[in-house]
């Protein structure tokens, strides 16, 4: 069951907005409605957010994203459509039921922090709990804990005015965390922060999300932020959701020109990860094999290098074809392993972080999972091709066809023992 589901949500401002819904369904444009005194802010938005997912709604100002997020917890009542939170259709709730959902299920972080300037940081963090009627010692403990999580341990007695912008937003985050809801709405939460702090907060959010498994609906106008944070991204324009997909899908398969133009300036190297561009090695060598087997394999596949793996798929090393040829000539049984440390990397490293490594070693980048097992390789040429707008990589495959990681082991490569 999705944690959050919006179905056919419309939000239209103006007198008797229902007529706008009808008109839009009949195919009238936004401009036609404007001339009738109606402003459609959200048009037929349908999406669902899975538990534990960071779902980003990305759009420029005026695209309706902030209105959309407010219909989710009914700070604004949708003109039409339903919003289901954790199985409850909140569009039909009365004021009491709605307050219960807001207290128990869904909290919010605001663009300009929206802290109470006359209360201490600790009291601000505990706000949601105070509203719920929790006693003061319990809520102080919970607030402490939340402040601790966001790196503000010991600041509970300060006033918000004594804090920097980044720290204030941490208080906003702590307030949402302390409320203990599974779903968090974040309305341009980091947009008011300067770039360095923003980056830091993004990292912290990802980290917190992984630790606490929150479901997050994040609104932003910053595409790079969307790509960095979002498990999935909804691209919004003029009130409509144009496309929903992962960062890679949106980057490589934009549904229309608008999205394509939007993403063309994105720094692909910061979005695509090693897992997106890596290839399976054509062949790998068992670590117990000798130079003869290596020689045969390399000749067969026309390879300049070959990875040597252990039985548990961990990487033993790499051999170069000229070393192998020399070893065969000398008749030795010992594999002439490449001496230097191989350039190892993990599947979620972004391309931008791979370049230095790739440049500093003649060997291809070796992608390993958390258990040090081989999942793929990235030769220099693949890395360069990945930057060329996703047309092709080294294998002539399109990027999205590259499997993301290999589950059990390197089954696709030929293995000789």
């Amino acid at each position: 069951m999705p944690a959050l589901e919006a179905d056919g949500v419309f939000k239209i401002f103006g007198r008797r907005p229902e007529r706008g819904v009808r008109a839009l369904r009949e195919g009238r444009t936004r401009e036609e409605l404007r001339s009738r005194g109606l402003t459609p802010a959200v048009i037929d938005a349908t999406f669902s957010v899975d538990p534990g997912e960071i779902f980003v709604v990305m759009g420029l100002s005026g695209s309706g994203k902030s209105t959309l997020i407010r219909t989710v917890n009914r700070l604004l009542d949708p003109t039409a459509g339903t919003v289901v939170i954790d199985g409850t259709d909140i569009s039909s709730l009365d004021a009491v039921g709605l307050r219960r959902v807001r207290r128990e299920k869904i909290s919010m972080v605001f663009q300009h922090f929206a802290l109470l300037p006359h209360r201490t940081v600790g009291e601000n963090a505990a706000y949601g709990l105070q509203v719920q009627g929790m006693n003061s010692s319990d809520r102080r403990a919970r607030a402490e804990q939340a402040l601790d999580m966001v790196g503000l341990k010991g600041w509970g007695a300060s006033m918000p005015s004594e804090l920097s912008g980044g720290m204030r937003q941490r208080v906003g985050l702590a307030r949402a965390l302390a409320a203990g809801t599974d779903i968090m709405l974040m309305d341009e939460a980091f947009s008011a922060l300067d770039p360095l702090i923003r980056r830091e907060m993004q990292d912290q959010l990802i980290d917190l999300q992984q630790r606490l498994d929150k479901t997050i609906l994040f609104i932003t106008h910053d595409l790079n932020e969307a790509m960095r944070l979002g498990d999935r991204i909804a691209m919004m324009r003029d009130g409509r959701i144009e496309q929903i997909g992962t960062a890679e899908q949106i980057l490589n398969n934009p549904v229309n020109n608008y999205v394509a133009e939007f993403v063309q300036d994105v720094d692909r190297t910061r979005v695509l990860t090693a897992a997106n561009v890596m290839e399976q090695p054509v062949a790998v060598l068992g670590s117990t094999s000798g130079p003869q087997a290596a020689h045969k394999l390399m000749r067969e596949h026309q390879l300049a290098w070959l990875l040597v793996v252990n039985r548990d798929r961990t990487v033993h090393g790499l051999v170069w074809s000229h070393d192998v040829a020399a070893a065969v000539r000398e008749g030795t049984d010992v594999l002439p392993l490449h001496r230097a440390e191989l350039p190892y990397t993990s599947p979620d490293t972004t391309l931008s972080d791979l370049f230095t490594q790739a440049a500093s070693s003649p060997a291809p980048l070796v992608v390993r999972d958390e258990d040090q097992r081989l999942v793929g390789v990235i030769p220099d040429v693949t890395l360069l091709a990945a930057m060329g707008n996703g047309q092709s990589n080294g294998n002539g495959q399109t990027l999205e066809n590259v499997p993301v990681g290999i589950p059990a082991g390197v089954d696709h490569g030929t293995e000789v023992r």
């Binding site: 807001r102 109470l116 509203v131 300060s158």
Partner: protein
């Protein structure tokens, strides 16, 4: 030329007669209620005046100066002590205290009425639209006009003075309360809603505290208007500086007029500066902010955020 001689097709309308009859009707119908209100107000004012005159002027001046020190600065405290002493020196202390009591009571009543109306107006556009023209009327009607029905209802003395002062001084209290609440950052109010606060929790926990500076500016205005009206109230027999001014006009006594007028100025400046200091975050020189600074400094954490 007389008004009757004007050439016009517009028929005469006897607004004055209607009001006259209306007031008569009110007076005969609610006589008991008016008498009760009058008794309560009269007792309150006379009680307060008695208390204020029970305290020797020297003690009173020191107390008022200390209040100034607590809320504003030592310069203000010294200044107000000197000017208040001047009132005593001019022999205007008793009427000054009578006027001060009248202002205090009228202000308290005006605020008690104005703030709730302001809150309602801020939360409801209909109320706001209804209240605004009424406030305009109350503020622009020449102040003397209020005195006439007040005398009819309550005869002469403090009570009609206080009541017409309340009516005259009320509007800025309502207006600035409404403004203050409407001005509260929308996102902060949304934060309250988003965490499931009830409208009452939002009002008490967010809107009112954040509107305090503006509401205090309104109360400051109420006090200033009350003081100016309290002088006019001297015409209906309310004892105090106003009565001295009226007396000085009647007898063309310029000396008495100057002394009474100067006393009014001293009171006005004292009250204005004092309430302005309460409304703003306060000057740094006040005892209050000094105390606050010291307590927060002690609470300041020694560790910094990572």
């Amino acid at each position: 030329m007389n008004e009757e001689e004007l050439t016009t097709v517009i028929p005469g309308v006897a607004v004055g007669d209607w009001v006259d009859q209306g007031v008569d009707w009110l007076n005969s119908t609610f006589r008991e209620i008016f008498r009760a209100i009058g008794d309560v107000l009269g007792t309150l004012i006379n009680g307060l005046i008695d208390v204020m005159l029970l305290v020797p002027p020297d003690v009173m001046i020191v107390a008022l100066a200390l209040l100034g020190l607590l809320l504003r600065s030592w310069q203000f405290a010294v200044g107000s002590a000197l000017t208040l002493a001047l009132i005593v020196a001019m022999g205007m202390w008793i009427p000054a205290m009578q006027t001060l009591a009248l202002v205090v009571i009228a202000t308290a009543a005006a605020v008690l009425i104005a703030v709730p109306i302001g809150i309602l107006a801020a939360r409801n556009n209909l109320v706001s639209n209804l209240v605004r023209p009424v406030l305009d009327f109350m503020q622009t009607m020449p102040a003397f006009v209020y005195l006439i029905p007040a005398i009819l209802f309550f005869s002469i003395g403090y009570v009609p003075g206080v009541l017409s002062t309340i009516v005259f001084a009320l509007p800025p209290g309502v207006r600035l309360t409404e403004l203050g609440i409407r001005q509260v950052d929308a996102e902060t109010v949304e934060a309250g809603q988003a965490f499931g606060a009830t409208p009452r929790q939002i009002l008490r926990g967010i809107q009112l505290p954040l509107a305090v500076p503006t509401i205090m500016a309104g109360i400051n205005q109420v006090i200033m208007l009350a003081l100016s009206m309290a002088v006019i109230a001297g015409m209906v027999g309310a004892d105090g500086l106003g009565k001295k001014v009226v007396e000085s006009i009647a007898t063309l006594n310029i000396g008495l007029g100057a002394e009474a007028g100067l006393s009014v100025v001293v009171l006005a400046i004292y009250l204005d500066r004092l309430t302005a200091a309460v409304g703003g975050s306060g000057s740094d020189k006040s005892l209050r902010s000094l105390i606050r600074r010291n307590t927060t400094a002690r609470r300041q954490p020694s560790t910094t955020a990572s």
